[in-house]
């Protein structure tokens, strides 16, 4: 069947819901939280309209949402959920459980700032605080990437038997409408065949078995090592799946770090998610003004694309790392990761951290220009003014 996309104008949240539908998700367990709600509302609508037989479990908390997805996934079903901020934090314990039990659950997290003070706006600290839970993390730049990301995440997750999070920005994507090219169901089915589970609680033909039982110090260590091996394997799988997606549907995702006009760049802006759309636009303008700049969008934060970062870093004088997140007592989280990934290499670009847009503060093309001016001066001088720049602070 020839690929003819179905174009729909949808919000990021609806893109996520359609992607779950087209991925032939079997169980959805979810709890409402702003700004995630329209994802699960849309899925409920699909069910109500008879478009799907998804088993929808309207649980009483996000903790139970993840626990129910875990039960469903361990019983062989393709399970999906979505959440945000406080909800994701409440799930934290079960995120470890999902990866430890090697269950390929896919979840959309709508990045939202953690309270207090209350905020419903964009901020990456919620998902980045789940860094060490054994979940893969894909950051979407736009609604199209939300849609594509969910479908690819299932394929990657079910290949390596680890869960995956697809992350979109509060309101900037979740509630903003844009054209999304959707894939006809039959072609999604070809790309993403039914799940073949690692184990199945409903398998009564095999010897009775137990999942998640006590492992003594003589065994626990190896369980952890296997998760790391699966993460390493995931890097290969992500590239293959991203390439296959590109061949089938015209949008290539084989790069874990998407590079934009970086080939001859003196320095690059590096960041994740929707703010990189703004950065790319700014790069075009800055290029016209004579700045040799590029953009590096980290699509997959876990597994972390160390090798791709090195290839990028060895050819530039500087990297301006844009973090819409913060690790208190340290610095922006992507900044820490990127510096750490390069430490034992010969790539030593000047690296500066710009903390931008926390709690949904606007981040504009003009901000990128100001950061470019500052970064340019830093590179010319050959030393940092400050390492971590609270760029948006009211002074």
């Amino acid at each position: 069947m020839e690929y003819k996309p179905i174009r729909k104008v949808v919000s990021g949240n609806y893109a996520a819901a359609y992607a779950a539908l087209h991925s032939r998700v079997q169980v959805v367990a979810a709890y409402p939280i702003t700004p995630q709600t329209s994802i699960i509302e849309k899925i409920a609508e699909f069910i109500a309209n008879g478009e799907t037989d998804i088993q929808y479990v309207p649980v009483e908390s996000e903790h139970s949402a993840m626990a129910a997805c875990i039960g469903a996934s361990a019983t062989g079903a393709r399970a999906f959920t979505a959440t945000s901020a406080q909800g994701l934090a409440l799930m934290h314990e079960m995120l470890h459980w999902a990866s430890g039990a090697r269950l390929p659950i896919v979840m959309v997290d709508v990045n939202r700032a953690m309270a207090p003070p209350w905020s419903v706006w964009d901020d990456q600290t919620d998902s980045l605080a789940q860094r060490d839970t054994g979940w893969m993390q894909f950051y979407a730049e736009n609604n199209q990437e939300v849609y594509d990301g969910v479908i690819m995440a299932f394929k990657v997750a079910e290949t390596v038997n680890l869960p995956a999070m697809v992350i979109e920005s509060a309101f900037i994507l979740s509630h903003t409408y844009d054209v999304v090219e959707m894939i006809p169901q039959e072609l999604v089915d070809e790309f993403l065949p039914p799940r073949k589970p690692l184990y199945d609680l409903a398998d009564f033909e095999r010897e009775p078995f137990s999942v998640g039982s006590l492992a003594t110090p003589a065994d626990y260590y190896e369980f952890r090592y296997k998760i790391q091996k699966a993460m390493e394997e995931a890097k290969k799988v992500i590239k293959e799946v991203g390439r296959e997606f590109g061949e089938r549907f015209g949008r290539d995702y084989s790069q874990m770090i998407e590079t934009y006009r970086t080939d001859d760049a003196d320095f690059v802006f590096m960041g994740m998610g929707s703010l990189m759309g703004t950065v790319k636009q700014a790069v075009d303008i800055l290029r016209q003004e004579g700045y040799k700049v590029g953009a590096a969008k980290v699509r997959w934060f876990r597994p972390f694309p160390k090798e791709e970062l090195y290839e990028l870093a060895k050819n530039v004088d500087g990297i301006a790392v844009l973090d819409r997140n913060y690790s208190f007592g340290m610095e922006g989280i992507l900044f820490t990761e990127a510096k750490g990934a390069l430490y034992n290499t010969d790539a030593k670009p000047l690296m500066k951290n710009y903390i931008v847009g926390l709690g949904g503060r606007d981040f504009t093309v003009n901000d990128v220009r100001k950061i470019a001016e500052n970064m340019n001066a830093v590179i010319e001088k050959g030393e940092l003014d400050v390492e971590v720049d609270w760029y948006h602070l009211k002074r």
Binding site: H63, G71, F204, S213
Partner: protein, 311 residues
């Protein structure tokens, strides 16, 4: 070992064993007995969800499994939610649940995991009407962590965080009536049971298997280690819990209460008979015992009234 048919016919419990040797329960463990009966009732086609509790240990460390069924071990507070997820997956896959040939989904959680940390997930499970059975095996404290009080610990009991001492710092609250909270959800079937009355327990397990929707059984399961009682007295203690009406046997089916006491006409024995076999109650004063006795009889009267009015 093959059991001859004529012997099988005389047995009051299913002959098949699905709870295997090599489990790591303490001597006289009520929970281990309970698991054995559940497995006898349901057999191989059972999916267990067991949260953090003694039974995660009893079932065996990796890679062993002493249960002749499939088991998913989960986090402390999640039994109800995991049951819901398992049921949703079976439905999505068109696999039959319950009945003679269907899959039994069984949550098996302690009193702490049910009455305290798991109460929210339990409530969600009951309210949403999942087609599964939740069993709370009640040993009246956090035994796996070393005998700390739970909301199911009775008045006057010693535990390691109600240690008595100079200030007479014992459990000061009566046992939480989890079964009443469960019944408030108006589920199709809820019952109490005891390891001292296995025929009654098995009958209730079979009723749960036949009844569509969520069911709940609160199983009284003595813990000699935590109760400071002789390991050969577990059944006697469990029997006395029923005979004193401290833990009355009853069931709630489709809005109707039915008391299942072995001798319904008999007046309850004094509570001392239940208490005296257990070291955990040795610090209770006469007044403490009177307080507990008063609560037991009041609750028993309440139950009788319910059975009379809504029987």
């Amino acid at each position: 070992m093959e059991i001859p048919e004529q012997v099988k016919k005389k047995l009051t419990l299913p002959a098949e064993e699905y709870f295997y040797a090599g489990h790591t329960a303490c001597q006289g463990c009520g929970a281990a007995l309970g698991l054995r009966y559940v497995l006898k009732a349901y057999g191989r086609k059972t999916i267990f969800a067991i949260p953090a509790c003694c039974s995660t240990i009893i079932a065996g460390a990796w890679p062993y499994n002493t249960l002749g069924a499939n088991l998913f071990q989960t986090a402390f507070e999640t039994t109800g939610a995991v049951l819901g997820g398992i049921e949703a997956a079976l439905k999505a896959r068109g696999i039959k649940v319950k009945g003679e040939d269907g899959v039994m989904i069984v949550g098996w959680a302690g009193d702490g995991g049910t009455a305290d940390i798991g109460l929210q997930a339990l409530s969600g499970f009951l309210e949403r009407g999942h087609d599964a059975l939740y069993i709370m095996y009640d040993n009246e404290a956090y035994m796996n962590t070393g005998i700390q009080r739970s909301s199911s610990t009775p008045y006057g009991a010693w535990t390691t965080n109600t240690p008595g001492g100079k200030r007479h710092f014992l459990e000061k609250r009566h046992k939480k009536k989890v079964i009443d909270i469960v019944i408030a959800h108006d589920i199709p079937y809820a019952a109490t049971a005891s390891v001292a009355y296995p025929e009654d327990f098995i009958r209730k397990l079979k009723t749960a298997q036949k009844t569509p929707g969520p069911s709940f059984i609160q199983l009284f399961a003595p813990c000699p280690t935590g109760w400071r009682s002789p390991t050969d007295k577990s059944i006697e203690i469990a029997r006395l819990a029923v005979q004193t009406a401290y833990f009355p046997l009853f069931e709630y089916k489709e809005g109707k209460y039915r008391i299942n006491m072995p001798n319904p006409k008999k007046e309850p024995k004094p509570i001392e008979e239940f208490l005296k076999l257990q070291g955990r109650f040795k610090y209770m004063t006469k007044e403490d015992i009177e307080t507990l006795q008063g609560w037991v009889l009041r609750e028993w009267e309440k139950l009788k009234k319910l059975a009379e009015v809504f029987g």
